[in-house]
């Protein structure tokens, strides 16, 4: 369903989808998705959206709930109402105060290669870190 704003597809709040959504144009999800979202363009996860599955997009604005891993080529933007249980991987990240986020973040705007997150969502708070810190002293 198109909402008339360019080529953006809209999944309304009263719609529940079980399966994979693939789109080459922008997507806005306000309903429920039990499955993957693969979008070559930008995606908006609205306030009422509930997604259980991984997301692969160019950039995404998150206002709702996501239980799954997020891979964005360009940017992940978490609004204050966002709840994310899973790992994120992106080049740029923007987070507003008030979000709930449990998972591993791989965001490095300086351009070094980041490791993609695991395929399964990680919702436990005791995730392992491969970077436990460093020496005792700060250094230049």
């Amino acid at each position: 369903m198109s909402n008339g704003q360019g080529n953006q597809s809209l999944i309304a709040a009263d719609v529940e989808i079980i399966g994979t959504i693939k789109s080459s144009s922008a997507v806005r999800i306000e309903g429920k998705l039990d499955g993957e979202l693969v979008c070559a363009a930008d995606a908006v996860i609205g306030k009422s959206a509930v997604i259980k599955g991984n997301i692969s997009v160019n950039s995404v604005v998150i206002e709702g709930l996501i239980q799954g891993n997020i891979i964005a080529k360009d940017k992940i933007e978490m609004k204050s109402t966002a709840k994310v249980h899973g790992d994120i991987n992106s080049k740029r990240l923007s987070v507003e105060d008030g979000v709930t986020f449990i998972g591993r973040s791989e965001v490095n705007p300086s351009g070094s290669v980041a490791t993609p997150p695991a395929a399964t969502p990680k919702a436990d708070s005791e995730g392992k870190s491969d970077n436990p810190g460093g020496g005792i002293f700060g250094r230049r």
Binding site: P109, G127, S129, G134, F137
Partner: protein
């Protein structure tokens, strides 16, 4: 103004007295018209004709509110705020006269300092021993020995070398260009990153990663703000965490 205090000192009584003085000064405020309303004016003025109402008196359009500074008494630990700068700072609870001198360490220093002001360890400065207690500490040089207690914000600049285990600070700010590694869990209230920090970080307040800032390691906090351009390579727990993940 009375002229007794410095340029930055503001007293409420002085403001009231100054306004009263301006109002009573001759010539500063045009007097109300005494002629009848229909009499022609002696000197034509560009202002609109007088309609019988009294001329507007001088009034204060804006009020300058002095900056509030938060202090912590290093004797009793009482936290209080003071509006503006004061020459003599008393603790509001125990009435101890607090030293509010700002210090700059630009060479090797091993004598204890206790102040309610700011202590800056310059790039050439070395804190080689003794205890340092201050409201704000800026580290741009080396901290080799001795304990540092910061009631407010600890600022870390590029080139800073310090032993985090010997530093007890409430807030921390990593300046741009600094790359800091902290071993073990680091606990602060507010954390602001303009530079890079590698740590197992636990924050009770807000963690702000500004553009150019980067956090590596682990993060547990209630509030996280990441500006566009900030980096985050960490295992993250942010926000109110339910005991079980609700479906």
């Amino acid at each position: 103004m009375s002229g007794k205090g410095k340029a930055g000192d503001v007293s409420g009584f002085d403001v009231v007295r100054a306004v009263k003085h301006v109002r009573e000064r001759k010539g500063s405020i045009p007097p109300p018209p005494k002629k009848p309303p229909d009499a022609p004016p002696e000197h034509p003025s560009p202002e609109p004709p007088d309609d019988g109402k009294p001329a507007r008196s001088a009034r204060i359009g804006k009020t300058a509110v002095p900056t509030k500074y938060e202090y912590v008494c290093y004797e009793c630990g009482y936290r209080f705020t003071v509006a503006g700068k004061v020459r003599t700072l008393y603790c509001a609870k125990c009435r101890t006269i607090l030293n509010q001198t700002d210090y700059t360490i630009d060479k090797r220093h091993d004598v204890s300092i206790v102040t309610a002001g700011c202590v800056t360890i310059a790039p050439d400065g070395i804190w080689a021993g003794g205890s340092l207690t201050a409201r704000q500490v800026v580290i741009e040089g080396r901290h080799e020995a001795g304990s540092i207690k910061v009631y407010g914000k600890l600022e870390v600049g590029p080139g800073a070398v310090f032993n985090a285990a010997d530093i007890d600070a409430q807030d921390i700010l990593i300046r741009a260009g600094a790359e800091i590694k902290i071993e073990g869990q680091a606990t602060y209230r507010d954390v602001e990153l303009y530079g890079e920090l590698s740590a197992d970080l636990k924050a009770t307040g807000v963690v702000s990663i500004r553009s150019g800032g980067h956090l590596k390691g682990r993060l547990q906090t209630g509030h996280l703000v990441v500006e566009d351009g900030g980096g985050l390579n960490a295992t993250v727990v942010v926000g109110s965490v339910p005991p079980e993940n609700s479906e």
